[in-house]
Symmetry: D2
Subunit: 241 residues, 4 copies
Amino acid sequence: MNIDLNCDLGESSGNEAAIMPYITSANIACGFHAGGPSVMQATARLAKQHGVAIGAHPGWPDLQGFGRREMSFSAEEVEALVLYQIGALAGIARAEGVELRHVKPHGALYNQAVVDAALAESIARAVKRFSRELILVGLAGSSLVERARGLGLSVASEAFPDRGYHPDGTLMSRTLPGAVLHDSAAVAEHAVRLATEGIRFGEKVILPDTLCLHGDNETAAENARLVREKLAAAGIAVRGL
Amino acid sequence: MNIDLNCDLGESSGNEAAIMPYITSANIACGFHAGGPSVMQATARLAKQHGVAIGAHPGWPDLQGFGRREMSFSAEEVEALVLYQIGALAGIARAEGVELRHVKPHGALYNQAVVDAALAESIARAVKRFSRELILVGLAGSSLVERARGLGLSVASEAFPDRGYHPDGTLMSRTLPGAVLHDSAAVAEHAVRLATEGIRFGEKVILPDTLCLHGDNETAAENARLVREKLAAAGIAVRGL
Amino acid sequence: MNIDLNCDLGESSGNEAAIMPYITSANIACGFHAGGPSVMQATARLAKQHGVAIGAHPGWPDLQGFGRREMSFSAEEVEALVLYQIGALAGIARAEGVELRHVKPHGALYNQAVVDAALAESIARAVKRFSRELILVGLAGSSLVERARGLGLSVASEAFPDRGYHPDGTLMSRTLPGAVLHDSAAVAEHAVRLATEGIRFGEKVILPDTLCLHGDNETAAENARLVREKLAAAGIAVRGL
Amino acid sequence: MNIDLNCDLGESSGNEAAIMPYITSANIACGFHAGGPSVMQATARLAKQHGVAIGAHPGWPDLQGFGRREMSFSAEEVEALVLYQIGALAGIARAEGVELRHVKPHGALYNQAVVDAALAESIARAVKRFSRELILVGLAGSSLVERARGLGLSVASEAFPDRGYHPDGTLMSRTLPGAVLHDSAAVAEHAVRLATEGIRFGEKVILPDTLCLHGDNETAAENARLVREKLAAAGIAVRGL
């Protein structure tokens, strides 16, 4: 058994260096919700040094709202928006001698694509038009994963060790009590449970391909270290996508 | 004898369709001084339909000033800025099944690189790191052309049929009387003279590889038509870079 | 009988000077969907010269989409967004010795507030918190006008001479056939009808306080001239809010 | 003897609450180099709760470079840029029932105005056109302070307790060794020395009106606390401008 560990980076949290040793995939912000050319370059370099695979982390154009505000674009606009951001990071990565491995939408773009099949289709189509080699990362059980698979793309189902789930397999909103796990030990145990038991959607169980670790708080590195320790103890190898 | 005709596009002038039939290279704005994902996509498609080669037209991040304000970035920042913009357009172009042929900096980035050798070097290095196949377009006789050549890049020397030149070969500032030619016939004649006689820099004469046509005014298409007519009459073939 | 004529300006259409003589209220874009400090300053000066009242024209932060994309902000974020934009224009106007007379939301912000009462309330509250003297301009019969009135603000009901209306009084979507009137004479006649007969919402008839003229096309000035001519012929005085 | 303590806030450092109790003036970023409507609103509220005076902290439009890149605008553009930002904050402050007390330029705009008299003049003129009641804060001994005084504005000379000075009174560049003091005790002692002995420019000594504390690092609150303690011990009262 094995699993990937991913983290959203290049978002100016300042904890990049501390989290890098623990992850296998870095989702790099592309300048629309956070980051920018110089931060992207620095993050790509750091990831390369640590042997961490890099992927694009496109978001809505919303620097002030950190990409967390819902927006409504036409299908064509979404495709262009995603292609632009993938290309921008690919250009910077190419200069560093690295290729992109995956794409994971950010914030509201990610969340809206969980339930909005048309949006999910536009994102997946953009990824496919850029390259059929890219892996699209989306919430386990979401519209995004389903549509991407339908288009013949490689997909990776993502789960969140520090987040609570409803009994029907959907992610709890951050505004609900118990939606965010703050204790490192609890996060690590949840990670092991997700990796071994998966998420139950009614009859179906989905085993996640990748777990998302957060890098934007002070306990990030400690959480990550403990997750790896517990996964190792449970006999689960951490391996890139 | 032959020459390329290029035009800055994707800058929301609205005259794209009218100028396309007359040019061989389209410099597409990359969202920093003008344009954006959707405009870039539409412009790349239009260029492809007309068999016009496309290139990136990177600028300073200055939407409100249209990239005409001088800025000061570190060498590393300039490289990242240029790589980001080339990559963004390349991503969009790739989805349309087109490859970039060239890169031509915009506005203040272009003008500062005429005289600022360090800036010119950073731009050229970014282009080279993206791909040695890309042609860098710069003002004939400028630092940019010289530095790019020094790095082993293919370069194209550019001249402006609708602009006046000083006797020493430098371009007249737009603020000087006579700096901008408004008469279509005069522009076309100047185009022929530039293509056949070149520009004299003291002892040296430089024959331009490409002439820049402007697409952002009402006489743009008429100017372009007349330039082609006069070039043809003078036996000069119009051919892409 | 009298009516105000308003126009959205400072959106880089280039026709400002031509339309100014015909209007009584200028809605100036505040840099979020279009415009910026310098354009705002130039437009405010021009309006002052023509004795045209100026108002803020706040929009979603969406330069690339011209504020036409729907967005979802919290109530507090909307208030801050609107206050920021009103303040920015007020700062520029103050330096020119002019006070703002009104506020009219732009694009998707305007359209969403037609039906979204919570959004309408946030916009109205921002205006009121800035100044109870400001008049809020909204679509006749909309949630925005109603909520603003509920908060005790002065409001102005707006109608569109160049747009078609459904029999129930709602504005036709631009995507429907007949939604946009292109003929100047038809626009002018519609203006007179709107000013004299108003808009019928079931039992209720609303007489608009202001008519919106568009300044972003070539027939803008001619339309405006004809509207004023026909209004005058019908005995309706054109007067600011 | 008394002195003001100011701090740049609303720049998303996350340490606002910790530093507020120690300062008397908050310079709030206005969305061009950092911040935005919602952050400005939250910061203005926090300042009001602590009885801290607020001022605008305008910068170049450079979110990605945090306003630290040199830019070149025309005099008119600078005025519009500064008026826009002052107005935007004033709009938000007005809704909170607070008036702006001062204006302090940020980053490269501040630094360029130290030596560029024309830029200094444009900034000062914008402040004056907004309101003669506003105090312009600039580097002690700089062109900005001098020009503002020349225009009849109230000015406040600023000094930096955590920065080294050359013997001629000019501030050391951050790139030089010894340019930044990291030890809290040393910073506090420097603060007392600046407040009591001032800065020597050849024959002339300038006593600063305000000391800048930094809020963007982990020792910020501790530095601030110690500065106040030492100032108190030296008999210097901390009082707003």
